[in-house]
């Protein structure tokens, strides 16, 4: 078990060197490679990947064709918003919303590096503007807004920009009478925004309250990992809370819990299956079944 538990806290620092080997897959979303929303280069040939779960080695192309799910053990590799949009939206057709909102170092927060510098460094390396993107498109002809996190951007951390994009996405759903799907993947709050990041929990919950009053469905899909502020707010507030198999989901991170209780954590602790057994998930869905299952769900909501 311990070998699987990565220290995702480290990703919240925004240091690339802290990323786990499995996150290497989406490094290819580099500046320049992605020119438009729909156009993207294939994964370079000749790259091989070792599954962190079972050690199975396959080519990048093979893995991509299998939706970044290990062909041997079904381990779900972590993917970014681009891959989810490609996987879910019909014909990979979608429109990104609110891409003009950027993070700002309002507090002039400096740890080992200034937040401003950190942001500039990340923007220089990737086309991502922040840790969440919002897009509108169709899933089997049913229109839907999908907000999806990118772990690559400071560990998918929840800051003001995510809070604002989330909120505008809700407004967009209400205005256009659309269902809302949020795909979470985050180490927690963005510490460099201090109390402002904490208040995003209340901000987003308030917006969900309005979405609920409008009787529009909200589906929360939790992927590996989803922790802290996300699980203590909109992550757990779905009309449906669903998850990918084997995803680590919780409030406190495993490292912190281990240090607190001074015991090893049981096998499978904080995995999707554990959450389902304890009654916190509506269902677990593999990535390969995701589009089909969401189609059914959306149909039930709209019928």
């Amino acid at each position: 078990m311990s070998k699987q538990v990565e220290d995702f806290d480290a990703n919240l620092t925004g240091e690339e060197g802290q990323e786990s080997p499995r996150s290497g897959w989406f490094k290819r979303i580099k500046k320049g490679i992605l020119t438009g929303t729909h156009e993207k280069k294939e994964v370079p040939e000749g790259l091989w990947s070792k599954c962190p779960e079972c050690g199975f080695i396959c080519s990048s192309t093979e893995l991509k064709e299998n939706l970044f799910v290990c062909t041997k053990c079904s381990y779900h590799h972590r993917i970014g918003s681009e891959e989810y949009y490609q996987l879910l939206f019909d014909d990979n057709q979608f429109t990104l919303l609110f891409e003009n909102i950027h993070s700002k170092d309002f507090l002039q927060f400096t740890d080992l590096k200034s937040y401003e510098k950190r942001l500039e460094d990340i923007w220089a390396k990737t086309d991502l503007k922040d840790s969440m993107r919002v897009a509108v498109g169709s899933i089997n002809e049913q229109s839907v807004v999908i907000a999806c996190m990118d772990f690559e951007f400071i560990g998918g951390s929840l800051g003001s920009v995510m809070g604002e994009k989330f909120s505008r996405a809700v407004d967009y759903c209400i205005l256009n009478k659309l269902p809302y799907l949020v795909i979470s993947k985050s180490g927690g709050a963005r510490m460099m925004e201090s109390a402002f990041s904490l208040m995003q929990l209340a901000k987003t919950s308030g917006k969900l309250s309005q979405l609920s009053d409008a009787k529009l469905p909200y589906i929360s899909l939790l992927t590996n990992p989803t922790f802290g502020g996300i699980s203590a707010s909109f992550g757990m507030l779905g009309d449906l809370n669903i998850a990918e198999p084997g995803a680590l989901i919780g409030f406190a991170g495993p490292r912190v819990i281990k240090e607190t209780i001074k015991k090893d954590l049981p096998e499978g602790f904080q995995r999707s299956e554990f959450l389902l057994e304890h009654g916190f998930l509506d269902f677990i869905v593999s990535r390969k079944e995701l589009k089909k299952k969401l189609t059914s769900v959306l149909r039930h909501f709209s019928n």
């Binding site: 620092t13 809070g163 929990l201 919950s205 406190a252 209780i261």
Partner: protein, 331 residues
């Protein structure tokens, strides 16, 4: 409030301790030698008040954190005892158990019934354990929500007193859905039909604090802190060392005055000189006097209006820059 001989002192409170020791010595000497030293003693006691004020006026961020954790500080039940009458404590979440780290019940503030809920810390080794150091489990948050819904049903204003180093990061807490419990509280609190006032009386750490921290007005007592993570944990994650807590506290800008400056809270409630632990009566009176006009004010607003103002209040929080680009006019 502890008698002087039982007081505990933080390092930066040392000059206060020295003065108290001197006063005690003067008193002892004057009694023993039967000399009237009351003038000197009075001068020293005035000096003591000044010294207390002086020390709290120049605290670093980290020292504010330390003061908020002062072992002699008044906790939720102390404020309830001092500023209300007719307190009827209510227990349990009707599901798992009664969480001793979260307390609450009906109480009367000068004749008006309110629901008061807050985290509770212990005052000695035994009760600290019992109260789990003010770290609630999911059942604590669910207990709080149950009491809030009860208040809503009978149209009573709600006051929450926040004082927690965080929601408990335990195994059972995760099994019983710590994240869901806090999320549910935040969601429900923003929709409550009755006035809700939240006050940080000690530590306001992260989701554990916000889990009872969503209201129409948010206040902080003078020597408290409120932010997304404790300075220690922030130090360990961002600096990869436990030794940068002082710097982390500074960088997080977690003090009451900073929070007020950011517009994230609505006011700072003054504490007795030297901090709330020097005079429980005065601290509680300050809080009560602060709350009363606000409860009256909030009651004049229609509940639907109050709810939309609450959503808007939190909706405005955050900072970002926005390019006026051409392709973004969807809103």
């Amino acid at each position: 409030m502890p008698v002087n001989s039982k007081r505990q002192f933080l390092e930066f409170e040392k000059p206060i301790k020295d003065l108290i020791d001197t006063i005690e010595k003067y008193k002892y000497d004057s009694e023993k030698a039967k000399i009237d030293m009351s003038e000197s003693i009075q001068r020293l006691e005035e000096e003591l008040v000044e010294k207390r004020k002086e020390i709290t006026q120049q605290l670093s961020s980290w020292q504010t954190v330390q003061l908020s954790r002062h072992p002699d500080r008044p906790y939720t039940l102390k404020y309830i005892e001092k500023m209300t009458t007719d307190f009827v404590e209510l227990f349990g979440d009707r599901n798992v158990k009664d969480d001793k780290a979260m307390v609450g019940g009906f109480a009367s503030i000068d004749g008006e019934t309110v629901m008061i809920i807050g985290q509770q810390k212990g005052i000695n080794t035994k009760t600290r354990q019992l109260r789990n150091f003010g770290m609630a489990n999911p059942e604590g948050y669910r207990k709080a929500l149950r009491l809030m819904k009860l208040a809503e049903k009978f149209n009573k204003p709600i006051i929450t007193l926040i004082d927690t180093p965080g929601a408990y990061p335990g195994l059972e807490a995760e099994e019983r859905g710590q994240g869901e419990a806090i999320a549910r509280n935040i969601y429900e609190m923003i929709r409550l039909k009755v006035p809700v006032i939240c006050v940080v009386i000690g530590e306001g750490a992260s989701g554990g604090a916000l889990g009872i921290g969503v209201g129409d007005r948010i206040f902080m007592m003078e020597n408290t802190w409120y932010t997304v993570i404790s300075p220690e944990s922030c130090s360990s994650i961002l600096w990869r060392s436990w030794d940068k807590k002082e710097i982390a506290a500074d960088q997080l800008q977690l003090t009451a005055n900073k929070m007020l400056g950011f517009g994230l809270i609505d006011g700072v409630i003054p504490e007795p000189s030297g901090g709330a632990h020097w005079n429980y009566d005065e601290a509680a009176l300050n809080l009560k006097n602060y709350l009363k006009p606000i409860i009256s004010e909030l009651k004049t607003i229609a509940s639907e209006e109050r709810i939309s103002q609450r959503i808007e209040k939190f909706g405005k929080m955050g900072f970002w820059s926005e390019e006026m680009s051409a392709n973004e006019k969807n809103k």
